[in-house]
């Protein structure tokens, strides 16, 4: 602990550049007595919260079991909350839900500590000090919503609706967030996808017309993962199924520069050179074609473009690939043969966060094609198509949206013609705010997202946010972007609110309050409705409360709201799709992509050399730990006890050469920033790489548990965008690492 404290006391780049270490008491009290610090507000609210809690509990003595849906990540596990005398005591996986299969990961188990986090947002607030000063005053919902609507209306009238950016992360209320932005009339929608899995989803869309096919683990025999670290980036049911698969004797081949926990479970760990998975997979394609290991019949029946691909991979022999990816040619050849021999019960996994290199799209296209070559599509043990989520649910009627003519700030489609509109390129929105091109964005409404932590080059993002006329944040915790906001609209946590239905397999589940809201917070559905009404867009939110939305969704399901409450879930009509009638231009699996050809891109994958670090520099890798979700859980008391920070992984030999000892503070520096963090010296990473888990180095002083712990990758990441998919290349930043000897301010 003492060691951590030492690290926490060191300045991090955000701190020394952008705010004073401590506020003086006097500074809180400038202006009127109505100006409070975070600390004072929190203290005040805590007392208020206790009182409300008592009222809520009075009515509900005894033990209740409430089925609901988790929101500690985006996997949407079914949960059963044990509520004792109005307090949530325990969260358990709902065995009826295929996402949880009766179990919860550490984050799901720790949801209680989000609900009872003393730092969480408890009432609406309006900023009173400088942007980023952390000075706010408590306001009523009326004042907060009036203010937000006035500002949005002003921006619309002065600059046009396109001057307003709206961004949201993946959540159940997202359709209504989209309603707000489309009805308001802005084309500028930001999602997290370009920082996450655009490369994968677009590659599979172009190849199969399905963005995220899944693996039939139960019948599979052989899986190749490229960086998909399911043991630590937990997707609950998939992690469980992977472990069952591996424990049954299924073979895992793991390509990863780092000895992750998944790598430690793999039959074979191949510490590949970052960015060269493409070479490995092209060579696999080469072997499969040269040795005629493909499924001839399947290819003839269900695919187009085989010949072009065969020709394209001609030069990519295992010997050629070995020189690039550091995996012996014989190993590549053997794995290609093993994979083909196990097919169709063999899968090259589509992977998840694939925003690593500009060539990640070509990598994912090759992954998609390898699966097609061996004909595992819809076969036992192969890749399975999944229907569009929620297509069987009803919705409320609403007027058509106004036509939008303004171009998007993120360059979709005028700069990025192939990126789907609903994905977007969020890092380009940030850049557009700095350049004023093609026009100046003026306002940003952020819904449960944290651009300051997620978008590369945090310093630039800070400047962009500071330049805005107006910044509003809807969230449950005082995240970093909220800390810089003009107005904060606090959403109730997932254990206190109703949300639209969640589909898991062929069942629907309901997120509903386990307890009444502890504080003066509202559900996202109600915040968006009340904001919409103030903007004159009430027709797009034709519900009185959340139940109306849920009832409309349930209409075609044939179960009443009351029955659903009672049972906790409902069966959906099973829809039968022909898995071989694909939503591509040819209705077949497009080994050669017509979409790419039509846009003047190479229709079949080709080698794209990734940049490599010069001598003395390291690849900076980032990824997840099992105890945290993106940037949202580090302040959770229990999760913080388990994983309080994100030390820099460095190879033992490399560390020795640099005179770095385990646990010692080091300076990690990239061309765009520098951080101080502590070293974790290990054999478990390539000597040319360092690794920092995502999610630490928070700027928000209001996150008192995690503030000052670890360091942020976004302070170091350079912005590199793949022009085809809009995907940020998160591993193309090269850093130096040196011991921190004191005296130097980061």
């Amino acid at each position: 602990m003492a060691k951590d404290k030492h690290i926490a006391d060191l300045p991090s780049i955000g701190e020394s550049f952008f705010w004073r270490k401590e506020f003086s008491r006097r500074q809180f009290l400038i202006g009127s007595g109505a100006v409070f610090s975070w600390a004072m507000l929190q203290k005040m609210s805590f007392a208020g919260g206790k009182a409300e809690e008592t009222t809520a509990t009075a009515a509900k003595k005894g033990v209740n079991k409430v089925p609901s849906v988790c929101e500690m990540c985006v996997w949407r596990c079914g949960i059963i909350a044990t509520v004792e005398d109005g307090m949530v005591k325990k969260l358990e996986g709902n065995p009826e839900n295929i996402n949880s299969r009766g179990k919860l990961c550490p984050r799901g188990n720790a949801g209680i500590k989000l609900l009872y986090d003393p730092d969480r947002l408890k009432f609406p607030m309006i900023r009173v000090g400088e942007r980023g000063s952390g000075k706010f005053r408590r306001v009523s919902w009326k004042e907060a919503l009036d203010f937000t609507a006035e500002q949005m209306q002003r921006i619309k009238e002065q600059y046009g609706p396109e001057a307003m950016i709206m961004s949201s992360t993946h959540n159940l209320t997202q359709p209504y967030f989209e309603n707000l932005l489309k009805a308001y009339g802005t084309p500028n929608y930001g999602t997290q996808r370009s920082l996450c899995f655009n490369a994968m989803t677009i590659a599979f869309l172009f190849t199969y017309g399905v963005a995220q096919p899944v693996v039939d683990y139960e019948n599979c025999k052989y899986i190749i993962y490229a960086g998909r670290n399911l043991a630590e980036a937990i997707s609950n049911s998939e992690t469980q199924r992977m472990m069952d698969f591996a424990a049954r004797g299924g073979k895992i081949v793991m390509l990863d520069p780092r000895f992750t926990i998944t790598a430690s479970k793999a039959a074979e760990w191949l510490p590949i050179r970052p960015g060269t998975d493409l070479a490995f997979f092209l060579a696999m394609g080469h072997v499969i074609i040269k040795e005629k290991l493909y499924n001839q019949e399947f290819i003839q029946q269900h695919t187009v473009g085989f010949e072009e691909f065969a020709k394209a991979v001609e030069p990519y022999s295992p010997e050629w690939a070995a020189q690039r990816c550091d995996i012996p040619a014989e190993t590549i050849r053997r794995i290609a043969r093993e994979f083909a021999a196990a097919a169709p019960a063999a899968v090259v996994h589509p992977n998840w966060r694939t925003s690593n290199f500009v060539n990640s799209f070509q990598t994912e296209r090759t992954v998609a094609i390898l699966n097609a070559l061996v004909g595992n599509w819809a076969a036992p043990g192969g890749l399975q198509p999944v229907p569009e989520e929620g297509s069987a649910l009803g919705s409320l009627p609403q007027p058509p949206y106004p036509t939008v003519t303004a171009p998007r700030l993120d360059g979709v489609p005028w700069k990025h013609p192939l990126v789907p509109l609903k994905y977007g390129v969020i890092q380009d929105i940030r850049d557009a705010l700095l350049t004023g091109e093609p026009y100046q964005g003026k306002g940003w409404l952020v819904y449960r997202q944290n651009p300051l932590m997620s978008i590369p080059e945090r310093r630039k993002t800070l400047t962009a946010l500071k330049n805005l006329d107006f910044l509003a944040v809807i969230d449950v915790i005082p995240n970093d972007t909220a800390y810089y906001a003009d107005v904060i609209l606090p959403e109730s946590t997932y254990l206190e609110r109703w949300d639209p239905l969640s589909v898991a397999g062929n069942r629907v589940f309901l997120r509903r309050p386990a307890v009444e809201p502890l504080y003066d917070t509202k559900s996202g559905l109600m915040i968006l409705k009340e904001l919409g009404e103030r903007l004159g867009l009430g027709d797009y939110f034709p519900y009185q409360d959340e139940r109306d939305v849920i009832k409309a969704q349930l209409a075609p399901v044939g179960i009443s709201f009351e029955e659903l409450l009672e049972k906790g879930w409902a069966e959906l009509q099973e829809e039968h799709h022909d898995p071989y009638y694909l939503q591509t231009a040819s209705n077949k699996i497009e080994i050669s992509s017509s979409t790419l050809a039509n846009s003047g891109e190479n229709p079949v994958p080709a080698w794209q050399e990734p940049p490599a670090p010069p001598v003395g520099k390291f690849y900076l890798l980032s990824g997840k730990v099992a105890q945290h979700t993106q940037f949202s859980t580090q302040n959770n008391l229990w999760l913080s006890l388990l994983t309080p920070d994100n030390p820099v992984w460095i190879n033992a030999e490399a560390a020795k050469q640099l005179g770095i000892k385990d646990g010692q503070p080091v300076i990690v520096e990239s061309p765009v920033g520098k951080v101080i963090n502590k070293a974790y010296v290990t054999e478990g990473i390539r000597p040319d790489c360092v690794f920092m888990a995502a999610g630490f180095g928070h700027l928000s002083k209001a996150l008192k548990t995690t503030y000052g712990k670890g360091a942020s990758n976004s302070s170091l990441h350079e912005t590199h965008t793949d022009p085809v998919t809009g995907c940020q290349a998160l591993s193309e930043t090269f850093v130096t690492v040196r011991p921190y000897l004191g005296g130097e301010s980061a």
Binding site: N109, E683, R686
Partner: protein, 192 residues
Amino acid sequence: MSKRYGFVMLVYRCIDCKACQVGCWAENEVPLGKSRNWITKDGPKGKFPDLITDFLPGNCMHCGNAPCVNVCPTGASYQTEEGIVLVNKKKCIGCKYCMVACPYNARYYHPEEKTADKCTMCVHRLKEGLQPACVSTCVGGARVFGDLNDPDSQVSRLLRKHRAVVQLPQANTQPNVYYVYDSPVDKGGIAP
């Protein structure tokens, strides 16, 4: 024959996610900063790139020959017929002898109750026919629990199929927590 409860820990299946730990904290209202169970990381061993890491889930070993019970001056620490080592909070005087005696460091001092505290195998859940909280939430399927005296139980079947070891056998504590190190590659599957 009466029941004899025990754990079989399938080392290969543990992914060190610590859901077991958080689940236990919630289930048993464990004081902040204390733990009734844990995962020990053994590794990475070897030199890059030939590495092995094992993760060992642990908790009170519910020893057949329990040093904590033997040293307790008041009889507060005791073992049930089913082999569960428990603390009678009314009899405990907080002397911490048991904590010192335990070779597995499985006990902690409860700061509010002023007593020794430890894993109870979630005996309150067992009474309802449920598994201990750590077992029922184990994402990797590493923690297996059951009646060692029942030849048809999962734990008995696993112990018949695999070679199992106990921690610190030299301490002669006769633990009821067994560890299976087999990997599926050698053994054609580590399925509970």
